[in-house]
Symmetry: C3
Subunit: 212 residues, 3 copies
């Protein structure tokens, strides 16, 4: 159960870049706030590898993104590009959503296998994997002082990551090799997220039973 | 000084459940926000064992709640029950407040002894213990994007936890066995909290001296 | 590259005190919020050594401020003094800003060298050092539920810390002894911050290119 897999550095950096760029585009929606360039970079960094930092803090180890010189510049540059070329990237809306679905799949697969490799049981491994996938967007919203988007009625962003992580853990438990399980995790996360956006799937809103 | 004590798993899980249920009831006060079911579960998880996670992050170790398969389902189910049966639980208001006072006493006693066992000096052990007790409610408020309730004029929620933790540390310093000290900690926390609610005790509001 | 340097305990405590006092003065601007005395103490603690806690959490070790009995009382007393003697300290505005610039220089130098000593590469060492310097103000704003000041158009608060940390890392890379590099880091941070306040330097606001 303890095998992990390695994402090639360039794939991980590209995923971080996609996250950071998305973060900057999101921050651009708050232009009246007077964020400065550093603020945009911070949002990019938090969105791009905040999930990975939360994952490693919970696993009580130094964040992987701080063990290389590449992550911070990639996140910063991607965020500033996202800010400058906002109009261009807005036109790519659907493509970016698909790319982002792919990156949360990758982060989820990597986070879940890392948690299993550290010796966590299955359920917390799903938690850590899902947090690795979507924790960046939680940090982004905390830093922007806006409600956490993924806790509200929307399009199954975190649910997609959870579905992928659960699939991975189940496949691992029945003996599927880690690379295959990770691949299926990415596909499931991607499919749930993209279908949710296309078909307007969402979770029910909080409500109390009326008869009690 | 380094002895600790073990809370039986079912007591710890029951305490987490009480916290999660309270978190969901609190979140129900923001129904116009359109939290979805996952949002309610996240608030439940954060309130139920967020304090324990902060405790273990500060002690630089993997959170205990992630080393068992039980915590996440208990917190999630308790939060969803709290949401569904809100009207029922609201009628139990006083009973729930008393139960919650008991759980912050338990979390505080466990957190303080864990900090002492890790080798922290007395003052930081009180800090870690109090944070273990009430940190869940801080995380809850951060995630809901509302002011941190326990920082505002109210009913000695954190003060009760601090009073219990100070008592425990003093008793340990004079050689009282850990189980007795922990028990007194729970009693003190419970008493301060419940009396504060009944007698409307609160701390003074922030203010500056006028003559300087 | 792995040498670090030790700030004498009293200098570190004095810096924490300055930060906590500033935090309480900042919180006094939100008097309509009804923060109580504990709330003021929490803001003082978060501002005073929150940056150091973030530094040590990222370096996967128990926070230094929790390994001594002195930090919590110093931060609490400084915050309460800041609250009580607010009018007095407001009159010291410029002096306090200069003192604060000195403390972020010290925290930055200590954080950056600690990160290098832990084995982090240069770029993440700058990140950890800058976060150690200004992370307290981020925690302060998160806990007060207000926008993170340093992400908005202002007076190069975080930029000063980054400039100092970059200088330190470059000087270390070319073989300058750690104490000299740390001293230059403090001077650079201090100079950039104080000049930015005096000359109203700031970073550009976020904006998109219009032609794409």
């Amino acid at each position: 159960m303890s095998a992990t897999f390695t994402i090639p550095l360039w794939v991980d950096l590209a995923s971080v870049g996609v996250g950071s760029l998305q973060g900057a585009l999101y921050a651009a929606g708050f232009r009246d706030r007077r964020l400065d360039l550093l603020g945009v970079a911070i949002i990019g960094i938090a969105t791009g590898f905040g999930g990975g930092i939360l994952r490693d803090v919970l696993l009580a180890r130094i964040p992987l993104a701080l063990e290389s010189d590449f992550y911070l510049p990639v996140a910063t540059v991607a965020a500033l590009l996202g800010m400058l070329l906002e109009r261009l990237f807005r036109r790519l809306g659907g493509f970016l959503t698909a790319l982002d679905a792919l990156t949360i799949g990758l982060f989820g697969a990597f986070g879940t296998t890392a948690a299993l490799a550290t010796g966590l049981p299955e359920v917390p491994a799903v938690f850590v994997g899902a947090l690795a996938a979507v924790g960046g967007s939680i940090l982004r919203d905390l830093l922007l002082n806006v409600p956490i988007a993924l806790m509200h009625v929307g399009s199954l962003y975190a649910v997609a990551a959870i579905a992928g992580a659960v699939t991975l853990v189940v496949l691992r438990a029945v003996g599927v090799p880690v690379l295959v399980a990770a691949l299926v995790c990415v596909v499931v996360t991607f499919a749930v997220r993209v279908l949710a956006v296309l078909l307007h799937w969402s979770l029910p809103e909080q409500q109390a039973l009326r008869r009690v």
